[in-house]
């Protein structure tokens, strides 16, 4: 799973959100490293909607501005759970190995 997809699904994991809130959440989750732009966001949302990973749960006008609210589908939640588990396993293994003393001759420098 590519990072923008992971960040978007993560941004929707705890609550449904509208477009601009998603941009803000993605920046927050990535510690400001990823700043998604409007066109990129809607390209990704189109794809995730097409793949059935998210769906539209509400449409409203707020302060004269159109707003759709997006949420994870069951399938999207399952995929995000699997990806989080995979990342957790890799991270745990990395930490385990980093905590071990380096074996002599196991590296070249």
């Amino acid at each position: 799973m590519q990072e923008p997809t992971l960040l978007l699904l993560t941004a929707l994991a705890d609550a449904p959100r509208h477009g601009y809130a998603l941009l803000q959440e993605v920046a927050t989750i990535s510690g400001g490293r990823v700043k998604m732009r409007t066109g990129t966001l809607y390209g990704a949302l189109d794809r995730l909607l097409g793949q059935g990973l998210i769906h539209v749960v509400g449409e409203e006008i707020v302060d004269g501005r159109a707003r759709r609210t997006y949420a994870l589908t069951h399938s999207g939640r399952e995929i995000l759970t699997a990806e989080a588990e995979r990342l957790r396993t890799v991270a745990a293994e990395a930490e385990r190995r980093l905590s071990m003393p380096r074996l002599r001759g196991a590296y070249s420098t």
């Binding site: 990072e3 923008p4 966001l41 390209g43 990704a44």
Partner: protein, 315 residues
């Protein structure tokens, strides 16, 4: 001014999509650019316009071609670097250029040098996962390549058909790899990883081998069919076409990586196919119809398979 530019960017989107999503896109754009400087607003506008253009061209990130292009992009960056940077270097090593010769103007060589530097930077940015920089570098690299090609060929003493043929061979695959980079949606391009690095290295190798052949310049001239017969090219073309045909079942089952490999290899396949067709046309005119017919049949089959695969996902 910004409102007018926003209307233009939204105007690029297909009418149906604009009717359904235009107000929301405009609202998110307004929120995103509130208090932002001209540079940030300009980049937002460019991104929005690119989104519209993608949808207009059927390259939205939900589409198979765009998703395949996303996977093929590191390969394309590597191939582009070898085609624009390594190939001229090899050519200079084999046959130094007459930079100081007044009969040979330096402008095309300078343009080629600019294209080479831009291509090398493009590949470097791609390998480091800096995709915005990668794609910003592609259009100037393409302009430099086209300019160099036109200037190099305009004084060519050969018949115009030959000039066009070599121009297309020189520009074609490089331009196709550039288009793959541009077709890859930003949201499908992640940070650098093992797959992307390996893919870029493969592209570098394929680019060196095939583009050296196409420009008659480097040490691999023995593959040129006009001098040595079509056997080496047939050997080269067979796996490429086989790969493209083998992609069909993969596509039908949604194996995106196969589609990506076929897409990445297609410029190289096009070079080999063009050479082979030209050779067969010169020698036996009837046989010349076979390779393009096979390629066309493969292309149509791929397109049909992709369409069939995509239909349920489109909305």
């Amino acid at each position: 001014m910004t409102q007018r530019a926003l209307r233009l960017a939204l105007g690029i989107h297909p009418a149906g999509y604009r009717r359904e999503m235009g107000a929301e896109l405009a609202a998110v754009f307004a929120d995103s650019t509130a208090g932002a400087g001209r540079w940030a607003t300009g980049r937002e506008l460019l991104d929005l316009a690119a989104h519209g253009l993608r949808l207009r061209l059927g390259l939205g990130s939900h589409g198979l071609i765009a998703r395949a292009a996303g996977l093929a992009a590191p390969f394309a960056a590597g191939a582009l670097a070898s085609g624009l940077a390594v190939d001229p270097l090899l050519r200079d090593l084999i046959r130094p250029r007459p930079y100081s010769d007044p009969l040979h103007p330096t402008a095309p060589y300078l343009l080629e040098l600019i294209a080479a530097v831009l291509a090398a930077l493009t590949a470097l940015a791609a390998v480091r996962g800096r995709w915005t920089a990668t794609r910003l570098l592609v259009p100037p690299a393409m302009l430099a390549l086209l300019g160099a090609t036109v200037l190099l060929l305009q004084d060519d003493p050969g018949p115009w058909k030959q000039v066009v043929f070599y121009g297309a061979l020189y520009c074609g695959p490089r331009a196709l790899w550039m288009l793959i980079l541009l077709a890859a949606p930003r949201d499908l391009l992640g940070p650098s990883n093992r797959w992307s690095a390996l893919s870029a290295v493969c592209g570098l190798l394929v680019g060196v081998v095939l583009l050296c052949v196409s420009t008659h310049s480097a040490p691999l001239r023995s593959l040129e069919p006009f001098l040595y017969g079509p056997a080496p090219l047939l050997a080269l073309l067979t796996p490429v076409l086989t790969l493209m045909v083998a992609t069909l079942p993969g596509l039908l089952r949604g194996h995106l990586r196969l589609a990506a490999v076929a897409l990445a290899a297609s410029p190289a396949g096009a070079v080999a196919l063009t050479y082979l067709t030209a050779y067969l046309w010169v020698t036996t005119r009837l046989l010349a119809l076979l390779p393009p017919a096979a390629a066309a049949a493969t292309g149509v089959a791929l397109a049909l398979a992709g369409r069939r695969r995509l239909q349920p996902a489109q909305h």
